[in-house]
Amino acid sequence: MTMTDQFIYTEPDPLELAEYREQVQTWMNENMPKRDPLNPWHPSEDDNERSSRNRELQRRLHDAGFAAVCYPKEYGGQSLTVAHQRIIDDVSEGFDMPILFSAPTLSIIGPILLEFGTEEQKQRYIPRFIRGDDLWVQFMSEPSGGSDLAGALTRADKDGDSFVINGSKIWSTFAQRSDFALMLARTNWEVPKHRGLTMFIVPIHQPGIEIHTIKMADGTDEFCQEYFNDLLVPAENVVGKVDDGWTVATRLLFHERAAVGGASPYTQGKMRQRRADSLEDLAVLAAKEPVGDAGNRRQQLGRLETLNRVHRLLSDRVVRGIKGGHLPGPAGSLVRLFHGLVGVEQASVNMDLYGQQALVWDEGASVGDHGVRFVQRQAACIGGGTTEMARNIISERILGMPRELATDKELPFNQVPRNG
């Protein structure tokens, strides 16, 4: 448990909270745009517009003192508790919120800077993103690497006061509209893989970086791949120590799992479900245009509702369990795993209830999205750390079972077997 983790869990006074809720509610009603239930966030929305709208909304929250309230005051937050943040999340449902800032900027990058950043780095970067100026992204995964983040091949070679970076990163979300990245690169090839990595702060829009968007099977293109060609990064941009980047990355993964699983205290506003995710919509549809028999349909909707509710209850329980010392920190992986399985179930039930319409539809009709989401359904079990990694973590770090044999653990990295 780090200092920042301790901080957010202190229990506030119930009366104070009730007052706070009122205050937030009043302000939201007067200042935040209502979300249009008929036109919620949709991947096809223009990226530029989306980015600037999110920046503006974040600024509004900030100016009113409702942005990133768990963050320390000295860096632009409010030094409030996680309970306060949850009130904001609750109240903000139905309002348009700057959801782009939730992850990774506020829930993953921020905690890392708070924990490992120099005082100068904290003062320089944190207030800017809380104010909505900068969006951040992670440059972690590599095309060759999959779940094996510590096997990074992107190299950072010291050259005077700078590092020269060459290589490629992938699966960074929305990188083309972001401003900074936290990047893991290899600074030492002569030592075992975990001991030769360094974490860097990288301004994105500069020479030496080329960004390509990746078209996904469902047609969206939020993810990017970046190519680095003699990219220069000053030594002052190192986060933590040189060659000790894995320590930073481990914490980053911890925060990422919490954010993906819905157990992060740093997210801001509830993650919005896509239209196709709404159980109510599904139910209305199922009632209007029944596919299969009613008993079968009720089983599917009942199972989905069950999983959705248990997902939230599990998330609450895990947060409590970690806080109370009943569960170790990595228990966030339980929620991440559950989340993936719910996603799979959701897409499958959805598809079954829409039936034939989700397979063949009139040109331009959006009902086909349900079929497309079914095809894409494993994304919920891949993005943000695969469910396989979650299962490794649960068995090894919660149940204490022996670690998988990693043949590359003690070998100097340049002797490790790679993709054949």
Partner: protein, 374 residues
């Protein structure tokens, strides 16, 4: 086990666990399989002394609980009893005591003192031979007579009917449901022990042939108020089943994980095989999620908010996953896991009965959908 217990609750829980481990280790559970009464009366009195039958009874009626959320306190005991597959008519006694405390007449409420002290056990005669009655459409009828009712019908799978001092009988009356509290020696009432998959708890058939009772046997007013009572009884019953199964699943997982560390195959402990590790990871998730579902159902019931929905969510999830978890644990044990001398089947037997009575997971999924208007 909940992760938000108060100090009092934690002490209460720990006391229950120690009591079970000392007084009813599984070797004792096995011995009691041969007892017609299921558990010795004097043991039940000791359990009652720990508060196991007083939680839902208000203080003015001789009861009392550990916190201001007695339902939560009750679920703590159920969880521990599940861990220990502890016999005893814990579920029906508390469910019926709650209704007597809420809706019983003063004469009926005097019975509660004996319940609290462990002298009297209670049973709820509700299930009928043709299955589930979530729609409250019972074949057992109560026909008004001069100054009372005649009750006729057959109830089955009535836990502790043959051990209890009183039965709460749920029946259809002309203006809706009616419930009657009957001494088990009431004329016209025949109680025949049944066999059960669960070797620990006792069940019986209750035959009511022209049972004549006065209006003083009524618990509460027939019609809507009684329907609300029946609904609450079901909710508490299902909560306790789920807590029992979640506790049992956690315990079974614990000793199976231990086994996986101790057991070597091909020169390595089972716990080092990734295919098994991943299945253990799923099981850990099921166990925590089952407990989470119980947390949610108990909280909802304690707060009186959307309780029927959360109860159905709990049964839908816990009913299936706790039992699947136990089957997986059998598989992890291999041959030894399907022998009579191993404890696994005792857990599975009880969990399977909990899963199936008062609505299967599938029944509750359908009900949940209907409650939500799907």
């Amino acid at each position: 086990m909940r992760y938000d217990l108060t100090d009092d609750q934690e002490f209460f829980r720990e006391t229950a666990r120690r009591f079970i481990e000392t007084e009813v280790p599984i070797s004792t559970v096995r011995e009691w399989h041969d007892l017609a009464e299921g558990c010795p009366q004097n043991w039940w009195r000791s359990a009652a002394e720990l508060g196991w039958t007083s939680l839902l009874v208000p203080e003015n009626l001789g009861g009392g609980s550990i916190s201001d959320r007695p339902i939560v306190d009750l679920s703590i005991v159920a969880d521990e009893m599940g861990r220990g597959i502890t016999p005893g008519p814990f579920m029906p006694t508390n469910v019926v005591a709650d209704t007597i405390a809420r809706s019983g007449n003063p004469a009926q409420q005097t019975l509660l003192e004996e319940v609290v002290s462990g002298q009297a056990m209670l049973a709820w005669a509700v299930n009928e031979p043709d299955g589930l009655h979530l729609d409250n459409n019972f074949a057992t009828h109560a026909t008004p007579t001069n100054g009372g009712y005649t009750i006729a019908g057959t109830k089955v799978a009535v836990e502790a009917a043959a051990q209890a001092h009183h039965l709460l009988v749920t029946a259809t009356a002309p203006n809706g449901l009616a419930q009657f509290l009957l001494p088990t020696n009431t004329v016209g009432l025949t109680i025949t022990p049944q066999e059960s998959l669960d070797l620990g708890r006792r069940f019986a058939q209750v035959q009511l042939e022209g049972v004549q009772v006065g209006t003083d046997a009524l618990v509460g007013s027939p019609g809507a108020p009684t329907e609300a009572d029946v609904c609450r009884q079901r909710n508490i019953m299902v909560l306790l089943q789920c807590a029992d199964n979640a506790g049992a699943a956690s315990k079974v997982l614990e000793f199976t994980v231990e086994y996986a560390f101790d057991r070597y195959s091909f020169g390595r402990p089972l716990a080092s095989y990734q295919a098994l590790k991943h299945r253990f990871a799923d099981m850990k998730m099921w166990a925590e999620a089952s407990c989470a579902a119980v947390d949610g159902a108990a909280d909802a019931l304690a707060a009186g908010q959307a309780e029927a929905q959360m109860i159905s969510v709990a049964k839908s999830y816990v009913g299936d996953y706790s039992v699947e978890l136990m089957h997986e644990c059998v598989q992890m044990h291999g041959g030894i896991g399907v022998t009579y001398d191993h404890d696994l089947h005792l857990y599975l037997r009880r969990a399977t009965v909990n899963r199936g009575l008062f609505g299967t997971p599938s029944d509750h999924r359908a009900q949940l959908s209907q409650m939500l208007g799907y």
